[in-house]
């Protein structure tokens, strides 16, 4: 491929004025931030054209099997630090990070108990993709805080690594000829699913946590099925690339690289991966510098994001994350997923006319708020954790145990599942079904008060569900009816 540079229709940079100028300007550095002069590579093209290369000549070159001028020529890509070792370092980070994201994502889906009832399932067409579903536990109470906090924060932190990885393999996108064999063709198709799937997942996830719903459909549908489209291509990719990655990582010592400054930075030896530039520009950044820049990007993203999942005094450090500030002060001054106003709750819905209906087979009680307050009250310290990744520290809730309400509805022993309905109008989460293990847990409450005060309207006044380790949207607010022993 390097021989390409000596083809008559694409002379290597010759000492003509324009070339020199471009060369001086283009020394590519590298690092994801810096796009080392790829554009620069277009020089031969311009020269070729200057040399009165006709369209016919170019066509001939194409037909002869050589790459046309431009990015398909290896010499177009000039970063001296691009190479299999650097790519493999980014690849290794993603190899660890992406499976963690996939697993925590699957756990989040399981946490909704979608197999329990249709109202719990945002992706009812899932078929076999729900093969792994299990009863979501209530212990530890911070389980969903942890899994979803990791899922979202890790996703944010991996963005620069993913971009750097894509930067590092850009010559492969333009490899020539575009298709070498059937195997190469299917591999490229697989890469479309890999790269498209990865970015589709990152983009929909990042937009969703910022409530920027511009994607074409339900977030749950897109993110869940998108993940499955992606993961097959990911497994194929790692199966065939991990050996290459291991070889590349062994080819250089990390410690040595971390001691090599820009002046001493030289390209990796050319190899079959086609990543090493045959025409490298002088280094403007070392591999250490490139890794450090990407690492700094991840670190800063972590610093301005993680606080929303840790809470307490660290929440304020989440300067750019959606839930980095407190909505207010006092007992009800903690994070709100959706305010009463945003889901159309009217004052009359939750005023003195509000009633709680508790149903079981052949049983129905209708209670005023005073009557609910007169039932035995219990306390539980539990967090709120949202699918968007943010969560709160434990809040001190008090109210009636769900299993006491189950007993009232005719289930004095083992509590069954319960269908919970809110006064919310429309919306995806106006009702939900909680599993028997969730109802049975002594910390699961129909809460009336929090942190020593009545619930505020935004936190679900007059009464809301709070269940340990439950995804936030299943801790239904403004509850008006509980139907025990009957999945929706």
């Amino acid at each position: 491929m390097d021989a390409e540079e000596s083809r008559p229709d694409a002379p290597p940079p010759v000492p003509d004025g324009s070339t020199r100028e471009v060369n001086a300007a283009a020394e590519p550095g590298s690092g994801p931030a810096d796009p080392r002069g790829e554009v620069h590579g277009s020089t031969p093209t311009r020269q070729g054209e200057k040399a009165e290369e006709s369209k016919v000549g170019r066509l001939k070159a194409v037909l002869a099997g050589g790459p046309p001028p431009g990015p398909t020529r290896p010499g177009f890509w000039r970063s001296p630090i691009r190479g299999p070792w650097l790519t493999s370092v980014f690849g290794l980070v993603l190899l660890i990070g992406i499976p963690v994201m996939f697993v925590t994502g699957l756990l989040s889906y399981a946490a909704y108990n979608p197999d329990l009832a249709a109202v719990n399932d945002q992706t009812p067409d899932k078929g076999w993709l729900g093969f792994y579903l299990f009863s979501w536990p209530t212990d530890p109470s911070w389980l969903y805080r942890l899994t979803q906090g990791v899922h979202v924060t890790l996703g944010v932190v991996l963005v620069p690594v993913l971009l750097a990885k894509l930067w590092s393999v850009i010559p492969r996108l333009f490899s020539w000829p575009p298709v070498r064999s059937v195997a190469h063709a299917v591999e490229r198709l697989s890469l479309l699913l890999l790269v498209g799937g990865a970015l589709f997942e990152f983009v929909t996830g990042l937009l969703n946590v910022q409530l920027h719903y511009i994607f074409p459909g339900s977030f749950y549908t897109l993110h869940f099925y998108g993940a499955w489209v992606f993961i097959g291509a990911f497994v194929v990719h790692i199966t065939f690339r991990v050996p290459v990655m291991v070889r590349a990582l062994r080819s250089r010592r990390l410690r040595t690289e971390l001691r090599t400054d820009t002046a001493a930075t030289v390209p990796e030896p050319p190899d079959a991966t086609g990543l090493v530039s045959p025409r490298p520009a002088p280094a403007t950044i070392s591999r250490r510098g490139a890794l450090g820049t990407v690492g700094l990007g991840s670190l800063v993203l972590f610093a301005v994001t993680a606080g929303q999942s840790i809470g307490g005094s660290l929440r304020r450090t989440a300067l750019l994350a959606p839930h980095g500030q407190e909505p207010g002060s006092g007992p009800n001054g903690f994070q709100i997923n959706k305010t009463a106003a945003s889901v159309g709750i009217r004052a009359t819905d939750i005023g003195p006319q509000w009633r709680l209906v508790v149903r079981g087979p052949g049983h129905e009680s209708i209670l005023t708020r005073e009557q609910v307050l007169a039932l035995p009250q219990h306390e539980a310290a539990l967090p709120i954790a949202c699918v968007e990744g943010w969560s709160t520290a434990d809040q001190h809730w008090s109210g009636v145990r769900l299993r006491d309400l189950a007993a009232m509805a005719g289930f004095p022993g083992q509590a069954p599942e319960v269908f919970v309905e809110s006064v919310e109008r429309g919306g995806s989460f106006g009702s939900t079904v909680l599993r028997a293990n969730q109802v049975q847990d002594p910390r699961s409450l129909l809460a009336l008060r929090v942190n020593g005060a009545d619930l505020s309207p935004d936190h679900g006044y007059p009464a809301r569900i709070i269940v340990p380790a439950n995804p936030g949207v299943h801790n239904t607010k403004w509850v008006t009816r509980l139907t025990f022993g009957a999945a929706s």
Binding site: A25, P28, G29, G31, P32, A33, D34, P35, R36, G37, E38, V39, T123, G127, L129, V159, L163, W167, I170, S181, V182, A183, V186, E187, S190, L199, V203, L206, Q210, L211, H212, F215, P216, G217, T221, L222, Y225, V229, G232, A233, V235, V236, T239, F240, T262, A263, A281, P282, T284, I285, G289, T293, V304, L319, L320, A321, P322, Q325, P327, N337
Partner: protein, 166 residues
Amino acid sequence: MSRLPSGFRARYGASPLHLLLVLCSFALALYAGVRLLKGDTVGVAVWFVAAALVHDLVLLPLYTVTDRALQLLLPGRDGGSGARAGGGWINYVRVPGFVSLLLLVVWYPLILRRVPGFQLTTGLAPGTFLGHWLLITAALFAGSALCLLVSTVRAARQRQPRARKR
């Protein structure tokens, strides 16, 4: 036995294992993809393909051109090109610039106030993010300037003793 795979390899371009694994992944992708594309089929397909290309064909050319422009603008320490081997000032701009733009790319809907319902939904003030981003950007460049100052002073000190010896 060994002949069959090698003949296969010549025609297909890789091992049978490669073909089987890829077909397996395609079947899974199709199974999930049918469900993914249900509804707004064209919209989702466009988003998926655009996602595959957005970095390589949009972001990469953009940041490459920006970086080259920077290299043209910034002289090296020796007065030559900023891209002279060994660096120059370029990385003192690149690194904070990269981090700042990265924050913008990740959190742009909030920073640029693209989310009209944010306050109504969460009860949180929507106007804080732009200010935070600008202050973080200022801090990043200030930190970089400090690093440059330290490195310049250090370089000057190293030069002085040598000059005296002469």
